[in-house]
């Protein structure tokens, strides 16, 4: 089925879309350009000046690289746990009847606690219970931060799972487990991917909670923050430039993969 937006509306929609893209791309693209500028003073390089000076210096920045590793590990584990836990929470939401609303509010409650406070309070709890700070404690803090997001994202995607599909599967002999694996899971896959991505990005960029909960190895935002405040060299731009390009590569890879393999199912009806 085709909807007719009209030329003017289409132009408007695309214009806003492009405006949004410009807004989110202005900073990282600017920095990317800066990272190829050999000058100390950040600014757009002339074409003739392009250089990899700062990238060459990157491997020597042990602190940054260690922090990046730490952040990637924490973000990955957080994303896995948050997605898994939120999936359980979402499934419970649909199983529950009367107490659905309370459950919903319980799960999203932690997202309303300001980060500084949550970080400090959780760190206090850990200290008092004799739990030593490490990447695990950071993960615990990030998990609670990411879970409400992941939970809501997954709930949103559950709209694709009509009850009648599950009923039909049961009719064909599917146990609850099979209904889940064969029907629910594939239908909410976009939601799971989004939830994973959200959790990953939330964790990767989280500063305050990480600061309070980290062990001796800080995460990337904490180290970057320190560097920015204490005389960083343009290597940090090379760092973000590298991260930017790496994410372009990763995302492009995933996109290409889904172009190849994806079934273009759109409107389940």
């Amino acid at each position: 089925m085709m909807t007719h937006e009209g030329l003017a509306n289409r132009i408007l929609l695309w214009a806003i879309t492009i405006a949004g893209l410009i807004i989110i791309y202005a900073p990282p693209l600017y920095l990317l350009a800066v990272s190829f500028n050999p000058a100390l003073q950040p600014g757009l390089p002339r074409l003739s000046d392009l250089s990899l000076t700062w990238y060459a210096a990157l491997p020597k920045e042990r602190a940054l690289i260690g922090a990046l590793q730490q952040s990637l590990i924490i973000a990955t584990v957080t994303a896995v746990l948050a997605t898994g836990m939120s999936l359980l929470a979402a499934l419970a939401y649909f199983e529950l009847r009367a107490r659905r609303t309370s459950w919903f509010l319980t799960v999203i409650l932690p997202m309303f606690v300001p980060g500084v406070i949550q970080g400090l309070a959780l760190s206090a709890v850990f200290t008092r219970s004799g739990i030593k700070a490490s990447s695990l404690t950071v993960i615990a803090g990030h998990l609670l931060w990411a879970m409400p997001f992941a939970f809501i994202v997954i709930l949103t995607s559950f709209a694709a799972v009509r009850r009648s599909y599950l009923v039909a599967a049961a009719d064909l002999g599917a146990t609850r487990w099979h209904q889940f694996v064969d029907i629910t899971l594939p239908l909410i896959r976009p939601g799971l991917i989004s939830a994973f991505l959200f959790s990953f990005l939330l964790s990767l960029n989280e500063f305050t909670r990480a600061f309070y909960l980290a062990g001796r190895q800080n995460t990337l935002p904490v180290v970057l923050f320190g560097k920015m405040n204490s005389g960083a060299s343009p290597v940090i731009y090379a760092m973000s430039g590298a991260i930017f390009m790496a994410s372009v590569a990763c995302v492009a890879l995933i996109a290409i993969r889904s172009l190849w393999t994806g079934t273009g199912q759109r409107s389940p009806r």
């Binding site: 100390l40 003073q41 400090l120 030593k132 320190g226 560097k227 204490s230």
Partner: protein, 352 residues
């Protein structure tokens, strides 16, 4: 741990990123037999104190390095323990005025060892403003919208107080420790100027400070001298003022965390701090950022290693800072007696 030199003991060093010398710790470890495991503490005193008081810092770290002033508070809470300067032979080499920084001691015990000191004033562009020798420039209506101060009362209140005391003859006893009424005077003054649109912004952090000057957002701002060095490296015409009102002195002090004592690494910690004052570290830090460890050991070390450090430069840096401290100095204080009031006023300023 990656840096751990063979056989060297290790301490967890939790400090402002400025104090990190990266790869050079290896050399430090070889010389001193102690390897620091360095962790950036983010340079904001508030969260650092919070982590010490309520959080996990004592589980993790042995030595803290951050802006001085809170030693008394931390000592009272028992989260830091006193140094035994007898175990730090190099302590004696510290310049006297550095040893005299007001808040290093509490209850007669030595809680802070100044590892880095400097005195701050105004960064400005002589190409636009000519020569500046007073904080009055910051409050000069002609520069409306072209000046900035730091986004922290810990610095901005003291600068303003110095100006009011020295140049406007206001009754202020110690700009670093304002009474309730003095504070009111200072803050009202700031609030008035803020409301007039005097300040382009209140800045925060090194890189942003550098950019403010470099991008011509401001022509003058209170700030740290290394920003001037950095600006010059980037080809800017920037100067650091020697104001008639004097400088704001500050120290980045080493404190010994209670956890170090509990874990029995207190002696190693002393060895480590002794190492910081030993000359090598001062040379490195001076070369990297223009920061100064307040001891003559730097020059001694540079002279002993002329192939690596220029003794003249090291000496010049030392003399330069010393010269600042020879004049009027008001010490920055993270915990003035009325510090809760400072915060209240700061909110008023924000919301004005």
């Amino acid at each position: 741990s990656r840096l751990a030199a063979q056989g060297a003991a290790s301490v967890a060093f939790w400090a402002t990123a400025t104090l990190d010398i990266g790869d050079k710790w290896q050399e430090f470890a070889t010389q001193n037999g102690v390897t620091p495991e360095f962790t950036d503490n983010g340079n904001d005193l508030g969260p650092v104190i919070a982590r010490l008081a309520a959080g996990n810092a004592n589980d993790l770290f042995d030595i803290g390095g951050f802006q001085g002033g809170a030693e008394k508070e931390l000592a009272r809470q028992g989260v830091i323990i006193p140094w035994d300067v007898a175990k730090i032979p190099n302590y004696e080499s510290l310049w006297q005025w550095a040893k005299d920084i007001p808040y290093l001691k509490y209850d007669g015990k030595q809680y802070g060892i100044p590892a880095v000191v400097n005195a701050d004033s105004i960064i400005y562009r002589p190409d636009k403003l000519g020569k500046i020798d007073s904080y009055g420039a910051i409050f000069d209506p002609k520069l409306k919208g072209r000046v900035a101060m730091e986004d922290a009362w810990i610095n901005s209140a003291i600068f303003t107080a110095m100006y009011l005391k020295e140049s406007e003859n206001q009754p202020i006893a110690d700009p670093g420790n304002l009474s309730e009424s003095e504070l009111g005077l200072v803050m009202e003054f700031l609030i008035k100027h803020k409301s007039d649109g005097q300040f382009r912004t209140f800045w925060n952090g090194w890189e942003q400070g550098v950019q403010l000057v470099a991008d011509q957002e401001v022509d003058a701002m209170t700030g740290w001298e290394p920003i001037v060095y950095e600006g010059r490296k980037r080809g800017l015409q920037v100067e650091y003022a020697a104001p008639v009102e004097g400088y704001e002195g500050w120290g980045n002090n080493m404190v010994l965390l209670k956890g170090a004592g509990d874990r029995g690494v207190s002696d190693t910690a002393h060895t480590f701090v002794n190492g910081l004052l030993g000359g090598f570290y001062g040379c490195e830090l001076g070369q990297a950022r223009g920061y100064l460890v307040p001891t003559d050991n730097n020059v001694v070390y540079a002279k002993a290693h002329p192939e690596e450090y220029k003794p003249d430069d090291v000496e010049k840096l030392g003399e330069h800072v010393k010269a600042k401290f020879a004049g009027k100095i008001y010490w920055q204080n993270a915990r003035p007696d009325n510090f809760q009031l400072y915060e209240e006023w700061w909110q008023k300023l924000r919301n004005a």
